[in-house]
Protein backbone atom coordinates (compact mmCIF):
# COMPACT_ATOMS: atom_id res chain seq x y z
CA UNK A 1 0.00 0.00 0.00
CA UNK A 2 1.29 3.44 -0.86
CA UNK A 3 2.20 5.89 1.85
CA UNK A 4 1.75 9.63 1.58
CA UNK A 5 5.43 10.00 0.74
CA UNK A 6 5.24 7.88 -2.36
CA UNK A 7 1.81 8.77 -3.70
CA UNK A 8 1.21 9.23 -7.36
CA UNK A 9 1.27 12.61 -9.08
CA UNK A 10 -2.46 12.50 -9.85
CA UNK A 11 -3.11 12.33 -6.13
CA UNK A 12 -1.34 15.66 -5.69
CA UNK A 13 -4.15 17.40 -7.51
CA UNK A 14 -6.67 16.17 -4.98
CA UNK A 15 -6.65 18.07 -1.73
CA UNK A 16 -9.15 17.43 0.97
CA UNK A 17 -10.75 20.76 1.86
CA UNK A 18 -11.15 19.89 5.52
CA UNK A 19 -7.49 19.15 5.90
CA UNK A 20 -6.77 22.62 4.65
CA UNK A 21 -9.35 24.39 6.77
CA UNK A 22 -8.33 22.57 9.91
CA UNK A 23 -4.68 23.10 9.29
CA UNK A 24 -3.81 19.63 10.40
CA UNK A 25 -2.66 16.49 8.71
CA UNK A 26 -4.61 13.33 8.33
CA UNK A 27 -2.32 11.12 10.36
CA UNK A 28 -4.11 11.89 13.61
CA UNK A 29 -7.31 10.52 12.12
CA UNK A 30 -5.70 7.25 11.13
CA UNK A 31 -7.12 5.36 14.08
CA UNK A 32 -10.54 5.67 12.46
CA UNK A 33 -11.20 3.25 9.66
CA UNK A 34 -14.55 3.14 7.83
CA UNK A 35 -15.58 0.19 9.99
CA UNK A 36 -14.06 1.24 13.29
CA UNK A 37 -16.87 0.74 15.80
CA UNK A 38 -17.74 3.69 18.00
CA UNK A 39 -19.79 4.03 21.18
CA UNK A 40 -20.52 6.93 23.52
CA UNK A 41 -18.53 6.84 26.75
CA UNK A 42 -20.76 5.99 29.70
CA UNK A 43 -20.34 9.26 31.59
CA UNK A 44 -21.79 12.09 29.49
CA UNK A 45 -22.32 14.82 32.08
CA UNK A 46 -20.29 17.31 30.10
CA UNK A 47 -22.08 16.69 26.82
CA UNK A 48 -23.91 20.01 27.10
CA UNK A 49 -20.67 21.83 26.34
CA UNK A 50 -20.30 20.24 22.95
CA UNK A 51 -21.14 21.92 19.68
CA UNK A 52 -24.23 20.69 17.81
CA UNK A 53 -22.45 18.26 15.46
CA UNK A 54 -20.34 16.67 18.15
CA UNK A 55 -23.32 16.38 20.42
CA UNK A 56 -25.43 14.78 17.73
CA UNK A 57 -22.62 12.35 17.03
CA UNK A 58 -22.25 11.34 20.68
CA UNK A 59 -26.00 10.90 21.05
CA UNK A 60 -26.13 8.79 17.92
CA UNK A 61 -23.88 6.18 19.51
CA UNK A 62 -25.36 6.04 22.98
CA UNK A 63 -26.19 2.56 24.17
CA UNK A 64 -24.51 0.57 21.42
CA UNK A 65 -22.00 0.66 18.59
CA UNK A 66 -22.04 2.16 15.10
CA UNK A 67 -19.30 2.14 12.47
CA UNK A 68 -17.64 5.36 11.34
CA UNK A 69 -19.31 4.91 7.95
CA UNK A 70 -22.77 4.58 9.54
CA UNK A 71 -22.21 7.71 11.61
CA UNK A 72 -21.31 9.61 8.44
CA UNK A 73 -24.37 8.20 6.67
CA UNK A 74 -26.78 9.13 9.45
CA UNK A 75 -25.30 12.58 9.98
CA UNK A 76 -25.06 13.20 6.24
CA UNK A 77 -21.52 14.51 6.55
CA UNK A 78 -18.45 13.43 4.60
CA UNK A 79 -16.22 10.78 6.17
CA UNK A 80 -13.35 13.27 6.41
CA UNK A 81 -15.35 15.57 8.69
CA UNK A 82 -16.59 12.70 10.82
CA UNK A 83 -13.03 11.52 11.37
CA UNK A 84 -11.98 14.97 12.53
CA UNK A 85 -14.95 15.17 14.93
CA UNK A 86 -14.23 11.68 16.23
CA UNK A 87 -10.58 12.45 16.80
CA UNK A 88 -11.51 15.40 19.01
CA UNK A 89 -14.23 13.48 20.84
CA UNK A 90 -11.93 10.54 21.53
CA UNK A 91 -9.23 12.86 22.83
CA UNK A 92 -11.70 14.42 25.26
CA UNK A 93 -13.07 11.07 26.37
CA UNK A 94 -16.58 11.36 24.94
CA UNK A 95 -16.39 8.29 22.77
CA UNK A 96 -14.77 4.87 22.88
CA UNK A 97 -13.76 2.78 19.92
CA UNK A 98 -13.36 -0.85 19.12
CA UNK A 99 -10.35 -1.06 16.87
CA UNK A 100 -10.62 -2.85 13.53
CA UNK A 101 -8.96 -6.22 13.57
CA UNK A 102 -5.42 -6.21 12.23
CA UNK A 103 -5.10 -7.52 8.64
CA UNK A 104 -3.17 -10.58 9.79
CA UNK A 105 -6.11 -11.63 11.89
CA UNK A 106 -8.57 -10.80 9.13
CA UNK A 107 -7.06 -13.43 6.91
CA UNK A 108 -7.64 -15.75 9.81
CA UNK A 109 -9.50 -18.91 8.90
CA UNK A 110 -11.65 -18.42 11.96
CA UNK A 111 -13.10 -15.09 10.78
CA UNK A 112 -13.77 -16.37 7.27
CA UNK A 113 -15.46 -19.45 8.68
CA UNK A 114 -17.67 -17.29 10.86
CA UNK A 115 -18.58 -15.11 7.89
CA UNK A 116 -19.46 -18.19 5.86
CA UNK A 117 -21.46 -19.79 8.67
CA UNK A 118 -23.24 -16.51 9.34
CA UNK A 119 -24.22 -16.05 5.68
CA UNK A 120 -25.44 -19.61 5.39
CA UNK A 121 -27.45 -19.42 8.61
CA UNK A 122 -29.07 -16.20 7.45
CA UNK A 123 -29.73 -16.95 3.79
CA UNK A 124 -29.08 -20.68 3.43
Amino acid sequence: MTTSEEHEPEFDALVRPYVITNGRGFSDSDRFDLVTLVTAAPDQQRKAHLGPEKRELVELCEGGYLSVAEIAGHMKLPIGIIKVLLTDLAEDGYILTRAPIPPAQLADIQVLQEVLDGLQARFG
Binding site: M1, T2, H7, E8, E10, F11, A13, L14, V15, R16, P17, D33, L34, V35, T36, L37, T39, L60, C61, G63, G64, Y65, L66, S67, A69, E70, A72, G73, H74, P78, I79, G80, R98, P100, I101, P103, L106, A107, D108, I109, V111, L112, Q113, E114, V115, L116, D117, G118, L119, Q120, A121, R122, F123, G124
Partner: protein, 196 residues
Protein backbone atom coordinates in the same frame (compact mmCIF):
# COMPACT_ATOMS: atom_id res chain seq x y z
CA UNK B 1 -37.11 -3.04 -3.16
CA UNK B 2 -36.86 -1.56 0.29
CA UNK B 3 -40.04 -2.72 1.99
CA UNK B 4 -38.06 -4.67 4.58
CA UNK B 5 -36.22 -1.53 5.62
CA UNK B 6 -37.56 1.29 7.73
CA UNK B 7 -36.03 4.36 6.21
CA UNK B 8 -33.97 6.61 8.46
CA UNK B 9 -33.98 4.19 11.34
CA UNK B 10 -30.68 3.70 13.10
CA UNK B 11 -30.01 0.37 14.65
CA UNK B 12 -27.13 0.19 17.05
CA UNK B 13 -24.93 -2.84 17.29
CA UNK B 14 -24.94 -4.74 20.54
CA UNK B 15 -21.93 -4.11 22.74
CA UNK B 16 -20.87 -7.75 22.47
CA UNK B 17 -19.80 -7.09 18.89
CA UNK B 18 -16.04 -7.50 18.57
CA UNK B 19 -15.20 -7.74 14.91
CA UNK B 20 -16.25 -5.56 12.00
CA UNK B 21 -15.33 -7.19 8.71
CA UNK B 22 -15.62 -5.54 5.32
CA UNK B 23 -16.33 -6.87 1.85
CA UNK B 24 -16.35 -4.60 -1.20
CA UNK B 25 -19.00 -4.69 -3.90
CA UNK B 26 -17.53 -2.95 -6.90
CA UNK B 27 -18.25 -2.52 -10.57
CA UNK B 28 -18.83 0.01 -13.27
CA UNK B 29 -21.69 2.51 -13.53
CA UNK B 30 -25.21 1.08 -13.11
CA UNK B 31 -24.07 -2.54 -12.87
CA UNK B 32 -26.20 -3.21 -9.78
CA UNK B 33 -23.98 -2.40 -6.76
CA UNK B 34 -26.61 -0.43 -4.84
CA UNK B 35 -29.25 -3.02 -5.63
CA UNK B 36 -27.01 -5.83 -4.41
CA UNK B 37 -26.21 -4.10 -1.13
CA UNK B 38 -29.86 -3.19 -0.54
CA UNK B 39 -30.93 -6.77 -1.16
CA UNK B 40 -28.67 -8.17 1.55
CA UNK B 41 -28.39 -5.39 4.12
CA UNK B 42 -30.22 -5.57 7.46
CA UNK B 43 -30.27 -1.77 7.72
CA UNK B 44 -31.56 0.66 5.11
CA UNK B 45 -28.52 1.09 2.86
CA UNK B 46 -26.63 4.22 3.75
CA UNK B 47 -24.61 6.54 1.61
CA UNK B 48 -21.59 8.52 2.63
CA UNK B 49 -19.71 11.01 0.63
CA UNK B 50 -16.16 12.08 0.46
CA UNK B 51 -15.61 15.50 -0.96
CA UNK B 52 -12.41 16.12 -2.80
CA UNK B 53 -11.20 19.34 -4.24
CA UNK B 54 -9.44 19.00 -7.50
CA UNK B 55 -7.13 21.80 -8.49
CA UNK B 56 -8.02 22.88 -11.99
CA UNK B 57 -4.87 24.54 -13.21
CA UNK B 58 -5.86 24.67 -16.85
CA UNK B 59 -9.10 26.46 -15.99
CA UNK B 60 -7.11 29.02 -14.00
CA UNK B 61 -4.99 29.70 -17.04
CA UNK B 62 -7.96 30.26 -19.28
CA UNK B 63 -10.24 32.21 -17.02
CA UNK B 64 -7.89 33.74 -14.53
CA UNK B 65 -9.92 32.45 -11.60
CA UNK B 66 -8.65 30.50 -8.64
CA UNK B 67 -10.63 27.60 -9.97
CA UNK B 68 -11.09 24.44 -7.99
CA UNK B 69 -13.64 21.83 -8.80
CA UNK B 70 -15.15 19.88 -5.97
CA UNK B 71 -15.89 16.28 -6.72
CA UNK B 72 -18.07 14.12 -4.57
CA UNK B 73 -17.42 10.42 -4.43
CA UNK B 74 -20.29 8.41 -3.07
CA UNK B 75 -20.06 5.10 -1.27
CA UNK B 76 -23.09 2.96 -0.58
CA UNK B 77 -22.97 0.47 2.19
CA UNK B 78 -25.02 -2.00 4.12
CA UNK B 79 -24.62 -4.14 7.20
CA UNK B 80 -25.12 -7.75 8.17
CA UNK B 81 -24.81 -8.98 11.73
CA UNK B 82 -23.51 -12.51 11.32
CA UNK B 83 -23.19 -13.58 14.92
CA UNK B 84 -23.00 -12.07 18.36
CA UNK B 85 -19.45 -10.84 17.93
CA UNK B 86 -19.17 -10.37 14.17
CA UNK B 87 -20.67 -7.78 11.85
CA UNK B 88 -20.05 -7.61 8.11
CA UNK B 89 -20.19 -4.38 6.12
CA UNK B 90 -20.70 -4.34 2.37
CA UNK B 91 -19.25 -1.28 0.66
CA UNK B 92 -19.97 -0.29 -2.90
CA UNK B 93 -18.26 2.32 -4.97
CA UNK B 94 -17.74 2.89 -8.65
CA UNK B 95 -14.31 2.30 -10.09
CA UNK B 96 -12.94 5.67 -10.92
CA UNK B 97 -9.20 5.68 -11.10
CA UNK B 98 -9.00 9.27 -9.93
CA UNK B 99 -10.32 8.70 -6.44
CA UNK B 100 -7.23 7.09 -5.01
CA UNK B 101 -7.84 8.19 -1.43
CA UNK B 102 -11.32 6.69 -1.40
CA UNK B 103 -9.97 3.42 -2.65
CA UNK B 104 -7.28 3.40 0.01
CA UNK B 105 -9.90 3.88 2.72
CA UNK B 106 -12.21 1.30 1.25
CA UNK B 107 -9.68 -1.41 0.63
CA UNK B 108 -7.80 -1.12 3.91
CA UNK B 109 -8.62 -4.26 5.88
CA UNK B 110 -11.14 -5.57 3.34
CA UNK B 111 -11.54 -9.35 3.29
CA UNK B 112 -12.14 -9.33 -0.43
CA UNK B 113 -14.20 -7.87 -3.24
CA UNK B 114 -17.10 -9.01 -5.34
CA UNK B 115 -16.75 -7.50 -8.81
CA UNK B 116 -20.15 -7.13 -10.48
CA UNK B 117 -19.93 -7.50 -14.22
CA UNK B 118 -22.47 -6.97 -16.98
CA UNK B 119 -21.49 -9.38 -19.73
CA UNK B 120 -22.68 -6.93 -22.38
CA UNK B 121 -20.39 -4.20 -21.11
CA UNK B 122 -17.26 -6.13 -20.24
CA UNK B 123 -14.90 -3.36 -21.29
CA UNK B 124 -16.37 -1.06 -18.68
CA UNK B 125 -15.18 -3.46 -15.99
CA UNK B 126 -11.51 -3.12 -16.87
CA UNK B 127 -10.90 0.03 -14.82
CA UNK B 128 -12.40 -1.37 -11.64
CA UNK B 129 -10.53 -4.65 -12.05
CA UNK B 130 -7.29 -2.74 -12.42
CA UNK B 131 -8.07 -1.04 -9.11
CA UNK B 132 -8.84 -4.17 -7.09
CA UNK B 133 -5.71 -5.77 -8.47
CA UNK B 134 -3.61 -2.71 -7.78
CA UNK B 135 -4.74 -2.70 -4.15
CA UNK B 136 -4.21 -6.44 -3.83
CA UNK B 137 -7.79 -7.24 -2.88
CA UNK B 138 -8.71 -10.85 -3.66
CA UNK B 139 -11.89 -10.98 -5.71
CA UNK B 140 -14.57 -13.09 -7.31
CA UNK B 141 -16.62 -12.14 -10.38
CA UNK B 142 -20.40 -11.98 -10.13
CA UNK B 143 -22.06 -11.79 -13.53
CA UNK B 144 -25.18 -9.75 -13.06
CA UNK B 145 -28.07 -11.24 -15.02
CA UNK B 146 -29.86 -8.39 -16.66
CA UNK B 147 -33.03 -9.37 -18.49
CA UNK B 148 -32.46 -10.31 -22.08
CA UNK B 149 -28.73 -10.53 -21.63
CA UNK B 150 -27.32 -12.92 -24.13
CA UNK B 151 -25.39 -15.66 -22.50
CA UNK B 152 -21.67 -15.39 -22.86
CA UNK B 153 -19.72 -18.50 -22.12
CA UNK B 154 -17.65 -18.52 -18.96
CA UNK B 155 -14.67 -19.28 -21.14
CA UNK B 156 -15.17 -16.12 -23.21
CA UNK B 157 -15.67 -14.04 -20.12
CA UNK B 158 -12.55 -15.36 -18.40
CA UNK B 159 -10.52 -14.65 -21.46
CA UNK B 160 -11.94 -11.15 -21.94
CA UNK B 161 -11.31 -10.23 -18.31
CA UNK B 162 -7.98 -12.07 -18.21
CA UNK B 163 -8.86 -13.98 -15.05
CA UNK B 164 -6.65 -16.39 -13.17
CA UNK B 165 -7.94 -19.96 -13.42
CA UNK B 166 -8.77 -20.01 -9.69
CA UNK B 167 -10.83 -16.79 -9.72
CA UNK B 168 -14.47 -17.75 -9.14
CA UNK B 169 -17.09 -16.68 -11.65
CA UNK B 170 -20.69 -16.89 -10.48
CA UNK B 171 -23.91 -15.54 -11.90
CA UNK B 172 -26.19 -13.47 -9.77
CA UNK B 173 -29.37 -11.42 -9.85
CA UNK B 174 -28.72 -8.49 -7.55
CA UNK B 175 -32.46 -8.12 -6.89
CA UNK B 176 -32.69 -11.63 -5.49
CA UNK B 177 -31.60 -12.29 -1.92
CA UNK B 178 -30.69 -15.93 -2.32
CA UNK B 179 -28.82 -15.34 -5.54
CA UNK B 180 -26.85 -12.41 -4.08
CA UNK B 181 -26.04 -14.35 -0.90
CA UNK B 182 -24.76 -17.22 -3.03
CA UNK B 183 -22.36 -14.87 -4.80
CA UNK B 184 -20.97 -13.72 -1.45
CA UNK B 185 -20.65 -17.30 -0.28
CA UNK B 186 -18.65 -18.14 -3.40
CA UNK B 187 -16.30 -15.25 -2.65
CA UNK B 188 -15.83 -16.29 0.99
CA UNK B 189 -15.13 -19.91 0.02
CA UNK B 190 -12.51 -18.65 -2.39
CA UNK B 191 -10.94 -16.50 0.33
CA UNK B 192 -10.85 -19.56 2.56
CA UNK B 193 -9.12 -21.61 -0.12
CA UNK B 194 -6.39 -18.97 -0.30
CA UNK B 195 -5.55 -19.29 3.38
CA UNK B 196 -4.82 -23.00 3.12
Amino acid sequence: MDSKHVSGEKTLLHDKVQIAAKILVVGHFAVGKTTFIGTLSEIPPLRTEETMTQAAAHIDDLKGTTGKTTTTVAMDFGRLTLNERLVLYLFGTPGQQRFVQVWEDMTRGALGALVLVDPQRLKESFAVMDLVEKYGVPYAIAVNHFDGTLARSEEELREALDLLPETPVVTCDARDEKSSANALVALVRYLQSRTR
